[in-house]
Symmetry: D2
Subunit: 322 residues, 4 copies
């Protein structure tokens, strides 16, 4: 197995997942280091992407969200394999993150992207500036309208987006999650987690970006602490090992991510995949797997704001030791 480290210096940024022109061609076992931009396309110095570096479908403001670095073409990755991406490091490199309330976005306004669902007034637009104290590893928001002065919360940086080329064609926006990963907005895609993604296209075409310095469950208002980071991932191809939806693993849990609408379908997809995993690799019979997942499994709601929602189902590894 190869074991080289590549520095990915993007010349362009993609707003899609798919078999785009590779930024890098590597071998299974290699490591990739890249600086990601924030969801709005600003770098660590708050400089915007030059227009000519944006690779969009036929973009509008909305579709410009979440520029990705990559794709990384992994030579050994063939359809039917699984790509194991271990997130080794997410090193924040800016002392600032922003968030927003947008009129037509977020789960408490009753609007979804491009779809006005109600006749009443949407939420007022506003912007929130979070200072990141990288030494204390906290984010600080000065409160202007409240009787409190500020709030300081711990940071837990993670990749808002990580995905491969989808089963068919190209996903025309990096706003949405699915079977290929994408904009899952799950706090679990953090340093220490291995993300297993299905390979449908030779090369796999891994791309990632949209680092969040912190985020609550569900990403309720639709926008987290949007910032930049230097990201290090180690990439391996698991030959002949197939999965149908993203699987994740850290030192404590095996996890599956289900994305869709309505929210209950995310629960169902993730749990069916988790039961399947226990059956395929851990020796459980189907209904006994269902029983133990019912009693000892946990779940976390990743996002309830993107075009598809995401739920992560988890099972503790300590119960799987033989």
């Amino acid at each position: 197995m190869s074991n080289r480290t590549h520095r990915l210096e993007p010349h362009v940024y993609y707003y899609t997942f798919g078999p785009n022109e590779p930024a890098l061609i590597i071998n299974s076992g290699d490591t990739v280091v890249a600086n990601t931009l924030d969801a709005g396309g600003f770098n660590e110095k708050m400089e915007p992407i030059p227009e000519e570096q944006k690779q969009r479908s036929e973009a509008t403001t909305f579709r410009e969200a979440n520029p990705q670095v990559g794709p990384v073409y992994v030579t050994e990755a063939l359809p039917g394999d699984t790509l194991a991406v271990t997130i080794q490091k997410i090193k924040l490199n800016r002392n600032y993150a922003w968030s927003r309330h947008r009129a037509h976005f977020g789960c408490l306004t009753g609007e979804v992207p491009g779809k006005k669902l109600f006749l009443n007034e949407p939420v007022p637009e506003s912007k929130f500036d979070w200072q990141l104290n990288l030494e204390r590893n906290t984010g600080i928001l000065e409160l202007k309208e409240s009787q409190r002065e500020r709030i300081e919360i711990p940071l837990h940086p993670f990749l808002g987006c990580i995905g491969v080329a989808p089963r068919f064609g190209r996903v025309e926006t990096s706003m949405t999650p699915g079977e290929y990963g994408g904009n899952m907005d799950c706090i679990e895609t953090k340093a220490g987690t291995t993300v297993y993604l299905p390979v449908w296209v030779h090369g796999a075409y891994l791309a990632f970006g949209d680092v969040h310095a912190a985020q609550g469950d569900g990403e309720l208002c639709g926008v987290a602490l949007e910032t930049t980071a230097e990201v290090t991932v180690k990439i391996e191809v698991l030959k002949g090992k197939t999965c149908e939806w993203p699987r994740l693993e850290d030192d404590r849990h095996i996890m599956t991510a289900g994305s869709g609408r309505p929210l209950m379908d995310c629960v169902r997809i993730a749990q069916v995949e988790l039961v399947k995993w226990l059956v395929d690799e851990y020796g459980f019979e189907k209904w006994e797997a269902f029983q133990v997942v019912s009693q000892a499994g946990t779940m976390r709601i990743g996002n309830v704001v993107d075009p598809n929602y995401t739920v992560v189902a988890k099972f503790p590894k300590k119960y799987l030791v033989t």
Copy 2:
């Protein structure tokens, strides 16, 4: 404030929440100790409830689930007050818990109680016997169909049901959760948690039961580790303090429980109530509260199987210290 301890020895068990004949009349500040039965109506010796002690609407097998002890009438509790119930102890008193897979119940079969939703075959019925090791505080399931022999998981006993008389009349089944609490099936109603419930009827009429020795998020198959316990709760009336949905508090979080269908409405109810709580009692302006909840709040799915689902939204108390 009163400070007496009452032993509640039920003569009858209720399958409803409402202004039923009180089992006990107490004062604000008093403590109540009671033995609860399991969801099937069996006591710590696995003896069933005698028929004459069952207080149902016009019961059938289905409606016999979740017999409650109580109701406890709290003299000072008047409409518009809040009842604060601190769960001091849930002492398991049986070394056995059962679970089931039922054809017409549970979130991975596509059926809801009494409502066949699909034309295809439901899940096969089966029963699971969990041995409880009360010394090790674990539950053990012998696996019969799997390549593994057993699974052993830690116990975390909690009340599957706790509720008061609803805003109107009586809730005719203890299977469902709502604004009054009820069958929320949330692991958060454990020892150490204070549950705040709205008072709509003089006396409040608190009832509880359905102890689960352990349960995964969502209670996927519809049945947890059903068992019995000796439960100790301290009850206080917060005069003139109003809430509209259950609120919970432990040493780390303030929490709100939203129950309804579809699942997204539970998310919305719980989060709107959480924002409201931050505004009412912690000095936040509404939109700043929404922002901090979006970034630092968490959520847990209580159940996705009862007639109403339940989601608990949480905010860490450490960010609320002034």
Copy 3:
């Protein structure tokens, strides 16, 4: 079979469905004539119900919606039978109907009764006065804010509510529909339709009210053309014939009404019941029934605003002639 006609002169009005004190005891085959009040409790002269005639749980303004006449106790009706109620006439007797937009009600504001789901502003409250021209059989609304002067639409009076005592206890509000019928808000419960309702309690306890002079599909804003009428229904007991959800029949269709949340569950309940009906009484095998319903069945959305939504599934009788 009996064949008497009873004039029901209510002394009280119920805001619940269940085994309340009967207003009338009849035999199978009898006919009942009654004047219904509008959803707000006003009679044909716009006089309100005297307070002492209101039979609510522990009522509030909200729960006072939809006073019912009845219940009618049908001597022969035993659990397991079906009650066939043929709506013979709905004679409007007031030249006025009202509708409203309410801040916390209706499907385009994102609110459900008692449950604030969003943080943004709800719809503005307003009232609409419809003049009923009983000769032309039309309703007329003068427009005040539009560039048009008025709209005139044909009337198609129907019962917003019709139901029996539920399977268990009492339904504490006449705002909600379910297996027992209730506030289905379906235009199909009109003159010429026979409504089949499950009998769960000896006597069946039929009640009805909430006449709508007209209504669009879904009752989007939550309030139809609320008015009064003289209603004539013929009631028969079908011995030993069982149904689990309301079935309806007119000269053109057999129909089933499914009520629940989310909306897809209404679709599923209604369609599964319709397939079942074709199998039970019309000689179809299950999967062939599913195929013909897929190709020749229709559906209508009754309401998307009540605590439970309602969908009516229909199959044309002309394809069922042998």
Copy 4:
């Protein structure tokens, strides 16, 4: 305005909507006549598409559904315009249609394409052969398992799919509907209806296909009476007239089609668009429009089986005469 009639003889068939290589370049006002294939890619002689004529993303069996003829490039169509497509004729040209029950498809099995949602058994696979009597205009299914011999239903042919290039890039499957139209599976896209589609890309790129000889509301089992036809459409560009979702119009109704998940969002999208239409073009103030739509509007469920569901909201034109 141009007024030519073009015969479209496809050399290839597309399984996507977007700016694909045009099959025909026309002017506003022209008419197009084309033979469509059935959903499985068979022509009027039941011959399959030669492999080299299939234009898919990276196709699999699933993605091969619904081959489209076109796209038609309309010279005058610019972003911000509306394309008005009047369906003049759908002439069935085969005496046979097929339908299927598929294990992982259809609203009563609890599965969605590629997403196993449940652990229980799916519906059994089967195929149904419908004979089309084009003289009597009926479809006949011989029943094999039922106590009835056959069912004969009237035909009402319509386009299952009709759409333009989407706002961004390309829709990689002709299985799904959206803002651009697509696989709406609505019986309203029949002869006599004008479909208004938003133009996002110069040329509009209209494509259509997937004729259904008949279908019930919702297309419950996921497959209608799949057949072929000669289709005639007249195409006009409405300069400077913008719409955001498909609008439809026949001699009796103006209509809007909302597609999404869950089903309630389709209701909301369609109704908000309908209110908007009444405000923009018929002189209604917003809230009065909402009131009259609430009282006199209707709805039909197009499909509840595709990756997005579709609901059509309707308002009678007779109330709009000034």
